[in-house]
Symmetry: C2
Subunit: 251 residues, 2 copies
DNA sequence: TCTTGCCCGTTTGTCCGACAATCAGAGCGT
DNA sequence: ACGCTCTGATTGTCGGACAAACGGGCAAGA
C-alpha cells in the first residue's frame, strides 16, 4: 500500500517572525506599552534580513498588536475595537449581509445591553446620555441629521453596560446597522414622525436607566429596535437586500 | 492673524499601496477569486519599489483580503470567520474579559440563535445536529471530553439560524466561552451530573428545532446557558476572573 | 497511453547595501 | 530656564541580486 502524505507547508520566514513576536505578546512576556527592539536588532536576533523582519512587523501592525506611536518606535498595544470592528464590518458587507440579519442581531444585543446598563450605569455615563438626548432634540428642531446622535446614544448605552465582550461583538454590527437606517429619517413627513418616535424612545430609555429599571430599559429598547423594522416596512424598503458598501463610509 | 495648521500625517507608501488595493476590493472592482498582478507589475504600476509593494501585501494578507493559494499566486478572497474570530478573541483575552462578560453575551446571542434556527433549520442541518447529539451521548458513555462536541452543537445551531452577521458576532465569544466551561465537565461526580444536564438540554433543543418550535428552543437555550453559570457557582469558581490566555489554545 | 525526467521562463522569498528624512537627545549659548 | 544646533540612531524607501519553487511544454521510456 502507498503511504499518503498530507501537504506540509513551509511557512515563509516573515510569518515565523510574526508568530514569534505574536507569541511573546499573547503569552504575556511582552506587555502593552513595551517598546519593541529596533528592526536591525530583531534582524540580528532572528538571524534574518531586515526586510524580512519588516514584513513580519507589517503583519503585527495589521493585527493591532503593535502600533507606531507619534514618533517612530514600535510599541506593543492592545488591539482595540476601533481597529477590529471595521474589519468585521467589511467582512459583513462582502458577505452580502442583509438588513434583516443585522436587525436580528440588534434585537438580541441592544435590549441586553440596555438591561445591563440599567444595572450598572455610572453618573458620568448618565450625564453623557442626557447631553446626547438634548443634542438630539436640538438636531431635530434644527433639521440636522439625527443618525450620528442615534449611533452615539446606542454606543453610550452599550458602554454603560460595562461589558467589553459585548462592545466587541456589538460594534461591527452597529457600524452597519445605524447607517442603514438613515433613510428612515429623511425630511419627509414620515421622517419627522420617525424622529419623534426615536426621541421619545431615547427619553424613556434614559429615564429607565436613571431609575436603574432593568425591565423597562429592556422592553423599551426592544420596542425601539422593532420600530426600525417597522420603519423599513412602512417605506417599502427591502429588508433582504444586502447592506451596501456605501454604509461603510457613512459614519 | 496666523493661520493654524493641524498636524498632517503622511502615511508611508506601503500603507497607500494597501489602501489602494483594499479600495479596489471593497468597491467591487476586484472580486473574490481574482488573481492579483505580480509584485513586479504592481511595483511598476504604483511607481514604487517591489519591497514597498510587498509590505503592503502583508497588510492585505493579514486582513484576510488576499490569500496565498496552494501555489504562490495571490487571490482576492472573502475575509472569513475563521480568520477574524480568533483576532477578536485574542483582543478579548488581552482586555481581560471575564467569564461573566462572556456569559452575558452568550445569554443574549444563543437563545436568539436557537429561536431563529427553529424557524429556518434545514433537514441537512437537523441531521448533523442529530449526529452531534448521538456523538455526545457516546462521548459521555466512553468518558471522552464533551466540550468540543458542545462547541460544535452550538455552532451548528448558530449556523442553522441562517444569519451571517450573527455568526460573525458570535464566533469570537464562543471561542472563549466554551473552553472556559471545560472545568465544569471533569470526571468528578459533579461533572457527571453536568454532563447529564447538558445532554438533556441538547436533546430537548434538538426536538424543539425539529418541531420548528421557536419558543421552546429559545427557552431551553436560555436554561442551558443559565446552567453554565450555575455550574460555575456550584464549583466556587470566580466569574469575575479574566478568561485565561490558555483558552485561546484550547479548541 | 501513461508516467517520468528534463528544460526554461516566471514569480516569490530572501538577502545585501545604500541613502534621505526624521526623531531623540546631548550639548551649547543666552 | 529657554531656545538653538549638532549628531547619532532609526525608519522608509530604493536598487539590484539570487536561490527555490512553480507551470508548462517536450521528449524519452514503460
Amino acid at each position: 500500500m502507498t503511504q499518503t502524505f498530507e501537504r506540509l507547508d513551509v511557512p515563509p520566514a516573515y510569518q515565523l517572525v510574526f508568530q514569534a513576536i505574536e507569541t511573546e505578546i499573547v503569552e504575556g512576556r511582552l506587555n502593552a506599552g513595551d517598546r519593541l527592539p529596533t528592526e536591525t536588532a530583531m534582524a540580528r536576533q532572528f538571524g534574518v534580513n531586515r526586510s524580512t523582519v519588516r514584513e513580519g512587523i507589517r503583519l503585527l501592525e495589521q493585527s493591532g498588536l503593535v502600533r507606531r506611536e507619534a514618533g517612530r518606535r514600535l510599541h506593543v498595544s492592545l488591539p482595540h475595537t476601533r481597529e477590529l470592528a471595521p474589519r468585521v464590518s467589511r467582512a459583513m458587507v462582502m458577505q452580502r449581509v442583509t438588513f434583516r440579519e443585522l436587525w436580528e442581531v440588534a434585537m438580541a444585543l441592544e435590549p441586553a445591553a440596555a438591561a445591563l446598563a440599567a444595572a450598572r450605569i455610572s453618573d458620568a455615563a448618565l450625564t453623557r446620555l442626557e447631553e446626547n438626548v438634548e443634542a438630539t432634540r436640538q438636531a431635530v428642531a434644527a433639521g440636522d441629521p439625527v443618525v450620528p446622535l442615534d449611533v452615539e446614544f446606542h454606543a453610550l448605552v452599550a458602554e454603560a453596560a460595562g461589558n467589553k465582550a459585548l462592545l466587541l461583538c456589538r460594534e461591527p454590527m452597529s457600524l452597519l446597522f445605524y447607517p442603514a437606517i438613515r433613510v428612515l429619517f429623511t425630511k419627509s413627513e414620515t421622517g419627522r414622525i420617525a424622529q419623534g418616535r426615536l426621541i421619545k424612545a431615547h427619553e424613556i430609555l434614559l429615564d429607565a436607566l436613571r431609575a436603574r429599571d432593568e425591565k423597562t430599559a429592556r422592553d423599551w429598547m426592544t420596542r425601539h429596535i422593532v420600530d426600525f423594522k417597522r420603519g423599513y416596512a412602512v417605506r417599502g424598503l427591502d429588508m433582504d437586500a444586502a447592506v451596501d458598501r456605501l454604509s461603510l463610509l457613512a459614519v
